[in-house]
């Protein structure tokens, strides 16, 4: 039997695959935005001296990182709806699942990034009369953010790959489309390869963008 990689099946269905890819990127991007936004107050609460903030934040981070993404997806999409708690579209449930899972990781990334800013920066800011909040906003956060970009990028890639799980709740993402075409055309190898190549391409573009962002924010700081 001669093995042949049939590129025509990919080009024939390229527009569906790209539509699917767009949806995957959209859901991952929204999920990442949720993770990045939730992670920040979580990290701050986790560093707080007050147990009232620290304990819930630590619990959240543990849960977010510990519960498998697939279970979060099922819980938010099926379980909650069945119990009549709330009902979400597949897209929203997907983005939320990615966001909740990612928030635990982002929180840890921010926390490490804050610790990486030398304590002298805090003292220098306090000495010119900046309040704690001003010190955080104007001195600590801008310096921590650029430390957080490369590992934050990893979380985005993780969420992008995690987004392929969303086909299980019927989100017509890239993997869902690839599976559908693969079954119809009996060409699984071609289609799953195409799907993998597409994800890698997006990952590379994202890494490039993160590199640019990091350089732009690293003004004045040798790395």
């Amino acid at each position: 039997m001669v093995f042949a990689f049939d590129t025509t099946v990919i080009s024939d269905h390229s527009s569906e695959l790209l539509d699917g890819l767009l949806l995957t990127v959209e859901v991952a991007a929204l999920g990442f935005a949720i993770a990045a936004l939730l992670g920040l107050p979580l990290a701050l609460a986790g560093r707080s001296q007050s147990p009232l903030l620290r304990v819930p934040a630590t619990l959240w981070v543990g849960l977010a990182r510990g519960v498998p993404l697939l279970i979060v997806i099922f819980w938010l999409y099926y379980a909650a709806a069945q119990e009549g708690l709330f009902s979400l579209t597949a897209f929203l449930a997907g983005a939320l699942s990615l966001g909740l899972t990612g928030s635990g990781y982002m929180s840890e990334i921010y926390r490490t990034a804050f610790s990486a800013v030398p304590s002298g920066q805090r003292e220098g800011a306090a000495a010119i009369g900046l309040s704690r909040w001003q010190t955080f906003r104007l001195v600590i956060f801008p310096q921590a953010l650029r430390t957080a970009i490369p590992p934050g990028m990893n979380v985005f890639v993780m969420l992008l790959k995690g987004a392929t799980l969303l086909s299980v709740i019927g989100l017509a993402d890239m993997f869902y489309t690839a599976k559908l075409v693969a079954v119809n055309e009996f060409k699984p190898f071609e289609l799953y390869t195409a799907a993998a190549v597409l994800v890698i391409a997006v990952t590379l573009v994202a890494a490039l963008a993160a590199g640019v962002a990091e350089r732009r924010m690293s003004k004045g700081v040798r790395r």
Binding site: G124, I128, G129, L130, S131, Q134, G220
Partner: protein
Amino acid sequence: MSASTSSLLELRQVTKQFGETTVLHPTDLQVERGEVVCVIGPSGSGKSTLLRCVNFIAPPTTGTIVFDGEEYRPPKDHRWIPALGIPEEQRLTRLRTQVGMVFQQFNVFPHLTVRENVALGLRKTCGLGKKAADARAVEELGKVGMAEKAAAYPEQLSGGQKQRVAIARALALEPKLMLFDEATSALDPELVGGVLQIMRDLAAGGMTMMVVTHEMRFAMDVADRVIFMDRGGIVEQGTPEQFKSPQHERTRAFLKSINHG
């Protein structure tokens, strides 16, 4: 408040503990307006801690600090609800705008230009607009010979230049008291002189200063009063003249060790 008749700064029974370790034993100290006080002593003697207690960068554990007629006490522990500490915090930020501090490690902000470093305090604590703050910042930088570097980032500067920026940043807020915490200890030897000259000029201009230093020549030339600290307490204080023949054995031993070190 008839603040101008009394000392600018008074420390009453100020102590500092880190956990079980006492780094500053009960200390009383008064600093008069226009006075230059140099604090010397071996490392770990509590000199820096004393300085840091003054502007609450390291809040004292017990005791009272009176600055320009206002009393400041150790902040209460609002561990459970930190927001309750905000009014106290606001009072302390007002104290800190009146007390400039220069650090051994400069602590300039690397993500801001030299001008922005100086303008930040002017904008955020003095309420100046961006334009006014920038203009004032360049003016202050001019006084320490750094105006032409206004657009540079700190990493492009030498240690001495960074320290000048840090001094300009503190002076821009027109403080009533300047604290120098080993301001020249991290500098290459050839850069020390320039920074010390700025400090000499400042002292000559009537600025009230507390200077923790290892530069004995500077202390002897500039100080109105020298304080020797050891093991978390003031051992001896007096004029530079009096320090030429110290009373305490520990002071003599320290002075001998740095002169022959």
